[in-house]
């Protein structure tokens, strides 16, 4: 009895050489840029190709070049670098036991930061847990992010969420869910509401390629198609979903962007480590949405350079040091070299910037710690636990709150509650 069940192949396992030959590339500038009202079926090849702007020598080429001012590029570089430094610092902090959990976006900074710049401040963002660049680009103070990570007295979520599940109403960053993909149809519904109200703001959402397997991905694409919702739907294909290679999400010999035209919305496959390409693709999709031509599914081809989270050890399932072999490089390095090539940046300026940002992060961390940690006070009042289940507290929760208060009053004497 022999199995003929096909199981997707994984290019390289621990101990083997990294092998990225499966990644279908096209040269920078090779993919045409159609007008934003192009018919969906004419995006099939865009969904299979790879929109790239930066070429091998870090020059911007081709029709997708967004021609951004050097100042914009420098801001983008700064925010990507800040994201990376913030990530590194928080990772180390978790290792030291100061926070319970962390998720880095190492290697994927362009996906978030470039998109944030291509969208308008009024556009509503529905991030996944690996989009800290969105929060940083939108100007959420680092201290606020850190206080969330610490679940301390200034935690924007009042201690209710795991680290990394940030949010901001004024900056239009939707509360992150620990359940994968659920925010995707919500983003589409948000966009439908904008259309119903006749408002110009659009929505944008992000999920990992692994999460495209979830039902909500399908619902989102379908509703976006049916109602032509003004939304930009991003799939961050960083090749891995914890230990599971993207082939198990349907990525074998197929692009994730192809789901767009499959369902009837535009699709774009983009070099996710190319700040300019991500910016250009997002701009195109946002214009398309705002002009009433509907949604675009953008696949950002990138690589998860680090572990899935602080609970994960990728050396168990993939070769160490794959990142240097990743054919699309490092987004920070590529934008830096582009700016240097333009004469708008230099190694010394970069080193100074790094130093400045390290200091910024360190200062923020010091400040955040003064508002408490999970283990050291001050702490949020545990009675907060009973609030916001409903707008007004019903009697059974009032009773439970009283019970806890009595327990804590009594427990001052005894052991743990």
């Amino acid at each position: 009895m022999k199995s003929r069940l096909h199981v997707p192949s994984v290019p390289a396992r621990p101990g083997e050489e990294p092998d990225f030959s499966y990644v279908r590339l096209s040269p920078a500038g090779a993919v045409p840029r159609p007008p934003v009202d192009v018919a969906v079926r004419d995006t099939v090849h865009l969904a299979e190709g790879l929109v790239r702007v930066l070429d091998g020598s870090h020059q911007a080429v081709g029709p997708w070049d967004p021609r951004l001012a050097p100042d914009v590029l420098r801001t983008g570089l700064r925010e990507m670098l800040l994201t990376r430094i913030f990530d590194d610092r928080m990772q180390r902090t978790q290792r030291q036991g100061r926070i319970s959990f962390y998720v880095r976006s190492w290697g994927e900074e362009a996906v978030s930061v470039a998109a944030a710049h291509a969208l308008r401040p009024g556009d509503m963002l529905f991030p996944s847990y690996r989009n800290q660049g969105l929060h940083i680009s939108r100007g959420i103070p680092l201290v606020d992010l850190m206080c969330q990570l610490l679940s301390n007295t200034r935690d924007m979520c009042k201690g209710r969420q795991l680290p990394v599940m940030y949010q901001s109403v004024p900056k239009r960053l939707f509360t992150i869910s620990g359940n994968l993909a659920t925010q995707y149809p919500q983003a589409v519904g948000w966009a439908m509401a904008a259309a119903i109200k006749g408002e110009d703001d659009i929505a944008a959402a992000w999920i990992g390629e692994g999460s495209t397997a979830a039902a909500d991905f399908h619902h989102a694409l379908l509703f976006a198609k049916v109602y032509r919702a003004p939304v930009v739907l991003n799939v961050v294909n960083n090749q891995w979903a914890i230990s599971t290679f993207q082939g198990y999400a349907g990525g074998e010999q197929r692009s994730f962007a192809a789901s767009g035209p499959g369902v009837g919305i535009a699709g774009l496959r983009v070099d996710g480590n190319d700040f300019l390409a991500v910016h250009a693709a997002t701009t195109w999709a946002a214009e398309r949405a705002r002009a009433g031509h509907g949604a675009t599914l953008i696949e950002h081809v990138t690589y998860r350079a680090g572990a899935h989270s602080t609970s994960d050890d990728p050396s168990r399932y993939r070769p160490k040091d794959e990142f240097p072999a990743w054919p699309l490089g490092d987004p920070v390095e590529r934008l830096k070299q582009h700016l240097i090539g333009l004469g708008e940046w230099s190694d010394p300026r970069h080193a100074a910037l790094s130093e400045e940002l390290e200091a910024t992060v360190a200062d923020a961390w010091k400040q955040a710690m003064t508002y408490g940690t999970l283990t050291d006070g001050p702490r949020l009042d545990p009675a907060l636990m009973f609030e916001d289940v409903f707008k007004e507290m019903p009697p059974h929760l009032e009773a439970q709150r009283a019970e806890l208060a009595a327990e804590r009053a009594a427990g001052a004497a005894g052991g743990p509650t």
């Binding site: 149809p185 919500q186 589409v188 619902h219 509703f223 409903f390 707008k391 009697p395």
Partner: protein, 339 residues
């Protein structure tokens, strides 16, 4: 005041709210042009337009997911799930997202959704058109759960649900859409006209969520129930000439335990009745809460009449349904019970 059946009363509630509040929208399968398979949304699309009364794809999870996003963006969606039996594909969005959005975001993001769905049996609908899944929602912190038993409450509670800033799962006992039902399938159908709760104001009013109602005052025994079974229980008590107090829960969450307990403290005996399957059902919570609160007043154990613990069996509907005779037997046994 006009005589309305429950379908008309629910329709009127949405009509009133669509007119009062531009943020209110209605969405669901077949709800638009067609007016819904039970006609509950009849005429609303014609009146308010296809952008406010929206036909959707057959994707219950998508309907709720999109409606949450709409709620976050300032709308007050009223989503219809065509049958409660089809609500499970939306369970994740309801449980993991809708119920917890306010909580996890420290009240910064909220989605004031109402999810209407016809439930219950007695219409020869077989296992996929007869279920009563209120129990699997009532257990989920963050959801309000409501079931009216008559047109007046239906309209008033639906308006309250739409105005409520918390998510409300609104169950509609479809067996009594067109008239009360005393449990006898052989009897000619009754109409709501003439029933006191079939008199419904045409305009705006609301019935507060969180309050039980005394459907029939009495002294001898307390019957706690809701939906279709309110009428069956009243009929069963009448059959026996028993002075039962029939309490209509109406709001399953939040539960008006005070009203329930007051009745049980008065009568000393209590029967809990629902159509949903018995094991682990909502009735278990009623019993658990009441015995915790009223133990020392109880003259007998609290008994349950409920759907048998099987899927809803098409051919045996009237042996399955917790009808009048079953309630009668339970009441008789309960009245005789002594140590």
């Amino acid at each position: 005041m006009t005589a309305m059946n429950m379908v008309q009363a629910l329709n009127s509630a949405m009509d009133v709210m669509l007119a009062r509040d531009p943020a209110v929208i209605v969405l669901g399968e077949d709800v638009g042009y067609f007016g819904g398979v039970f006609r509950v949304t009849e005429g609303l699309q014609r009146k308010y337009g296809a952008h406010r009364v929206i036909d959707t794809p057959i994707a219950e999870g998508g309907i709720v997911g999109a409606a949450i996003g709409m709620g976050v963006n300032g709308l007050r969606p009223v989503a219809e799930i065509q049958f409660a039996d089809y609500i499970y594909p939306a369970y994740d969005q309801i449980v993991s997202e809708l119920a917890r959005l306010r909580y996890r975001s420290a009240a910064e993001f909220t989605a004031p959704l109402t999810i209407r769905t016809p439930c219950g049996g007695g219409i020869r609908g077989g296992q996929t058109h007869s279920q009563s899944p209120e129990g699997v929602f009532a257990h989920v912190s963050g959801l309000k759960v409501v079931m009216p038993s008559n047109p007046y409450d239906a309209k008033g509670l639906l308006i309250a649900a739409i105005e409520d800033d918390d998510p409300v799962i609104f169950f509609e006992p479809k067996r009594i859409y067109n008239g009360p039902f005393d449990g006898d399938p052989e009897k000619p159908a009754e109409s709501w006209a003439g029933h006191p709760m079939g008199e419904v104001p045409e305009g705006y009013y609301s019935v507060p969520i969180g309050q039980a109602a005394i459907a029939r005052p009495g002294e001898a025994v307390t019957v706690i129930t809701y939906g279709t079974m309110v009428h069956v229980c009243i009929a069963a008590a009448a059959d026996l000439g028993l002075d039962a107090e029939v309490v209509d829960v109406r709001s399953m969450v939040p539960l008006d335990l005070d009203t329930l307990a007051a009745s049980v403290e008065k009568t000393g005996r209590c029967l809990v009745v629902h159509e949903a399957t018995r094991f682990g059902g909502y009735g278990a919570e009623l019993i658990a809460s009441i015995q915790e609160r009223c133990f020392w007043c109880l003259e007998a154990p609290i008994r349950r009449v409920a759907g048998w613990d099987t899927p809803y069996p098409h051919a045996f509907e009237w042996e399955y349904f917790p009808g009048r005779a079953r309630v009668r037997r339970a009441l008789q046994a309960l009245m005789q019970e002594a140590p």
